[in-house]
């Protein structure tokens, strides 16, 4: 644990840190371009030059391990001079086309120029080196060679992280440029990350570019629900519209990265198939009703089935895209209020779903582990059991929460199981299963609700509401609280309230609080009855 001085502040840090990392711990930013904590040290940009006592030359912070007694000056005259000089070098051949550059607003050249540069330009415009514009690298990424500062983050990403090696640096000196190796395309499943690591406007996202200025976007930290990995993300949105997902750092889950499939997952939340209002089926068509009316219909259906055929005539199938809170509330409604034993989870993924040994999981559900902890996917809690009972006419009312049974099972089977059953669907979008619904309750998508999911490694992570759900749709937990009170059950007033109730009834969650999970998630500590191996 070396103790050193950085800009007059004494700091003790763990072994093996470099000057940039150590400075960060006392809130000092050493400006840098090529250094990235997830990549090897390259030391090429020279932006992180700092003065270190007893060393004649300025040193690059990224390649300087801190040691005991070191005295670092990041803002001395010499350091500041060097930082401004490096910026000037980086900008002389840069096109300074900020008004039409997609990176504007989140560009380290802009940021650092204001902080460390702010000199008068002495480069003549006509003397600049010209290079390729709008170079197509692959399905996700476009390159502007003139904006590139050759920090080699993107090449290192492809060499070290995906190990696909599509990109290299070609030519020499100020003619150097990033390019694809012959015959290659930047089309690996993680290619979008090079846009994130690019500190300037050289690599831009085909999907995002020119859609919005970044300063108009709000950023909400959340978790990707594309698969069971649960990469931490930021949702960039504006007025209820999502523009992009970007990975958010979490050393225990996704480090700095996310897959392209997850990156595009935001589109799944804003399709035309969203259900805006509660619906009930009269005769053959749906009628729009109020939540109050829909709640009454649900209560009526449940009571009739219970009275006429017993508690087990009411069943529920809960999809593994439901949050822990949603799954908990619905299973409690069934098990405790109604007294039914017919509550099951459903975690379905296509058999041929793409997966790898890095971040992309074969389980395309965000909360399979959570359902297991709630006893919903094992020990008889299988959707299969309920379908079988329904086929024998034993199920009179079936709740379906966030699960498309028609896709998971074959259509004939669903026809025979649900033909005579009152089907209550809680979901975000119309799908093949809503065709069978008698009552449809629109709920918020993962980006519109608070709640938690448990990823494949048993880590509970929070979803955050970026903006309210469309139309009359309600957060799943709110909708379920409403159904609970309609059946004379307990009410829930907040997500932390629901989570608190969950921790009291489910051993795997014992000791946790919603606040404690934080933005980085937390591994389940309590031993769950059915935690998966």
């Amino acid at each position: 644990m070396p103790t050193l001085e950085i800009d007059g502040q004494e700091v003790t840090v763990e072994d093996g840190l470099n000057v940039i990392q150590a400075a960060e711990q006392v809130g000092i930013e050493v400006p840098h371009y090529c250094y990235h904590p997830g990549l090897s040290i390259s030391g090429n940009c020279r932006m992180c030059l700092v003065e270190i006592e007893n060393m004649p030359k300025l040193q690059i912070g990224c390649n300087t391990r801190v040691s005991d007694g070191m005295v670092v000056k990041t803002t001395s005259e010499r350091a500041k001079h060097a930082q401004a000089a490096v910026l000037e070098f980086l900008l002389i051949n840069h096109p300074i086309d900020c008004p039409i550059c997609d990176q504007a607003g989140e560009c380290k050249l802009q940021d650092y120029y204001m902080l460390y540069g702010a000199y008068k330009s002495e480069m003549q415009l006509e003397a600049k080196v010209h290079k390729g514009k709008v170079v197509d690298l692959g399905p996700e990424v476009v390159l502007d060679e003139e904006r590139c500062i050759l920090c080699a983050r993107c090449t290192r990403f492809c060499d070290e992280i995906t190990q696909t090696g599509e990109l290299g640096i070609f030519e020499r000196g100020d003619h150097s440029r990033i390019s694809l190796f012959p015959g290659k395309k930047l089309d690996n499943p993680y290619s979008g990350n090079v846009v994130d690591v690019c500190p300037v406007g050289a690599l831009t996202s085909k999907d995002f570019r020119f859609k919005s200025r970044v300063w108009y976007l709000e950023k909400t930290p959340s978790t990707c629900t594309r698969c069971a990995t649960g990469c931490n993300i930021d949702i960039y949105h504006r007025r209820g519209e999502i523009f992009r997902f970007r990975p958010r750092q979490n050393p225990d889950v996704n480090t700095y990265w996310m897959c392209d499939e997850g990156r595009h997952w935001y589109k799944s939340f804003q399709q035309d198939s969203r259900i805006p209002t509660p619906l009930v089926r009269d005769e053959s068509s749906f009628t729009v009703v109020s939540w109050e009316e829909a709640g009454k219909r649900v209560a009526h259906a449940v009571r009739s089935a219970q009275d006429g055929h017993g508690a087990d005539a009411v069943a529920a199938i809960i999809g593994a895209k439901a949050t822990n809170e949603e799954a908990f509330l619905l299973s409690r409604l069934l098990r405790e209020q109604i007294g039914s034993t017919h509550t099951a989870g459903l975690s379905w993924s296509p058999a041929d779903a793409f997966h790898d040994d890095f971040l992309i999981h074969a389980d395309k559900n965000p909360n399979t582990q959570g359902l297991k902890s709630l006893g919903l996917l094992n020990g008889g809690g299988e959707a299969e059991t309920i379908l079988a009972a329904a086929e024998q006419g034993q199920v009179k009312v079936l709740f379906i929460l966030g699960a498309d049974l028609v896709t998971a099972f074959d259509q004939e089977r669903i026809d025979s199981a649900l033909g005579e059953t009152t089907v209550i669907v809680l979901d975000t979008d119309y799908n093949s299963t809503t065709e069978y619904a008698d009552i449809v309750l629109p709920i918020a998508a993962a980006v519109e609700t608070d709640g938690t999911c448990t990823n494949q490694a048993g880590r509970v992570q929070r979803l955050s509401q970026a903006f309210p759900p469309p139309g009359e749709a309600k957060a799943g937990w709110e909708a379920l609280a409403l159904l609970s009170t309609g059946l004379d059950g307990p009410d829930s007033v907040s997500i932390s309230d629901v989570f608190g109730e969950l921790t009291h009834s489910v051993p795997a969650f014992a000791g946790l609080t919603y606040g404690k999970i934080g933005l980085q998630g937390t591994p389940l500590t309590g031993a769950g009855p059915e935690t998966d191996s």
């Binding site: 690059i60 390649n63 980086l90 003397a127 050759l150 020499r172 100020d174 150097s176």
Partner: protein, 430 residues
């Protein structure tokens, strides 16, 4: 010095042939080292000789060898830096082509000293003939058991490979050379770690210049005292001075270290061509400060040169006469660094090009008065702030030209172009 060591072909014709080399005591030093000395004794002798690196930096060779870790279980490599590309420099080429075996013998002894069983000769790609000479000499020497397994019955094995570069100045930077040898782009590595600890293929590696290695056999043969008796104690030994430019007899001269520059130019290279006056000398290749005529009494050794703010470098002496336009000369120098900057570090990648553009502008008569200070400022900002010293190699001569020949730069601005060119043209027009 009685006899040439490095340019021995001038005394002994065909010394590049193995039978001739053997007939003149060839490989005797290697035999002596491998059969009678321990590796550390060889290193000790080289240390004692004070042999300093001839690639330009002047780092003591024996000390460099001593940086190899003692407890490593990885193989040790020797890389012979034969990527001679410094402007005005052609000394290594002569050794490679004409005195080939002394280099190979130096490699053999050095590998024994540092316990390396594999050596690579990284030769500049354009030296196709030199590479052929090395291949031929190696084949001959392998045939006589001088390389390969159990050399001289000592149990010491050594394989030597000749690797031709693909045409970039930066491959001569020792870590650029290592990267290139590994098949990568020759981006110099950030240091630490140094090659002695983490070099070729991540293994301990020594990189030595051709002329340095060629000195080693004579140290073993004649002893460190003999070596130290040649030239100044602080950096002794035989040295090849290469003189080019406006002299009567351009060429190579093997002389002791520490020769006065004036003597080399006037006594050995025959003085300035056509009886003209000397204007400037770049005494150390192109990467170091230029000298004016009143500075040429300096002794050509590492420390004496440093004392006047100059460097010995490769001792590639570029002589310029009174008719030389210093702006144009510098434009050519900086064109080279612009062309050869690897482009890794921002200050060098962008700075070398910027310098060159400004100089072209000045030379063409489109320069502004403030350009001169701008050039100076760019140099200051480039120096000492990059992975390798290519930026310094561009900035140092540039600043020295500006300082020592400022009037000429100013004249290019005030007269809207090169006054010398105009002077040359006017009489014809008249």
């Amino acid at each position: 010095m009685a006899e040439n060591v490095l340019l021995r072909h001038e005394d002994v014709p065909d010394i590049h042939k193995l039978d001739v080399y053997l007939a003149h005591d060839g490989y005797a030093a290697a035999r002596q080292a491998l059969t009678t000395l321990k590796p550390e004794e060889v290193t000790a002798q080289v240390k004692e000789s004070n042999l300093r690196g001839r690639g330009g930096a002047g780092f003591p060779a024996g000390v460099k060898w001593g940086f190899l870790p003692k407890d490593s279980d990885k193989p040790v490599y020797l890389c012979c830096n034969a990527d001679e590309s410094e402007p005005g420099t052609f000394k290594d080429r002569a050794i490679i082509e004409k005195n080939t075996h002394i280099l190979l013998e130096g490699i053999l002894i050095t590998c024994y000293a540092i316990n390396a069983h594999t050596a690579y000769i990284y030769i500049r790609g354009e030296f196709a003939y030199g590479a052929k000479c090395l291949e031929q000499a190696l084949a001959e020497a392998y045939g006589q058991g001088l390389f390969g397994k159990d050399i001289f019955g000592s149990g010491f094995d050594l394989e030597v490979y000749v690797h031709r570069g693909a045409g970039a100045y930066i491959c001569g930077e020792e870590t650029g050379l290592i990267e290139s040898l590994e098949g990568k782009r020759a981006y110099p590595r950030i240091k630490p770690p140094f090659p002695a600890v983490y070099g070729l293929f991540g293994c301990p590696t020594i990189v030595n210049n051709v002329e340095t290695l060629a000195c080693v056999p004579s140290i073993i043969k004649n002893g460190p005292d003999w070596f130290r008796s040649i030239g100044p104690e602080s950096g002794p030994g035989p040295k090849i001075y290469g003189v080019s430019g406006h002299v009567e007899k351009p060429g190579m001269f093997e002389l002791p270290m520490g020769m006065p520059l004036r003597e080399v130019i006037y006594d050995y290279a025959g003085g300035i061509k056509d009886g003209k006056q000397l204007k400037a000398v770049m005494p150390a290749g192109s990467s170091f400060p230029v000298l004016t005529p009143d500075e040429i009494d300096v002794h050509m050794d590492f420390d004496s040169m440093r004392a006047i703010g100059a460097f010995l470098g490769t001792a590639g002496i570029i002589v310029m006469d009174e008719d030389t336009c210093m702006v144009r000369a510098l434009e050519i120098v900086d064109r080279f660094y612009h062309h050869e900057s690897c482009g890794q570090c921002s200050p060098c990648r962008e700075g070398t090009g910027w310098l060159h553009k400004l100089l072209v502008r000045l030379e063409e008569g489109n320069g502004k008065a403030e350009d001169i200070d701008l050039i100076d400022r760019i140099c200051t900002n480039m120096m000492g702030n990059t992975v390798c010293v290519l930026a310094d190699a561009a900035a140092m001569p540039t600043q020295s030209y500006l300082t020592k020949f400022r009037d000429e730069f100013v004249a290019h601005v005030t007269e809207g172009g090169c006054p010398l060119k105009k002077a040359a043209v006017q009489p014809e027009a008249a």
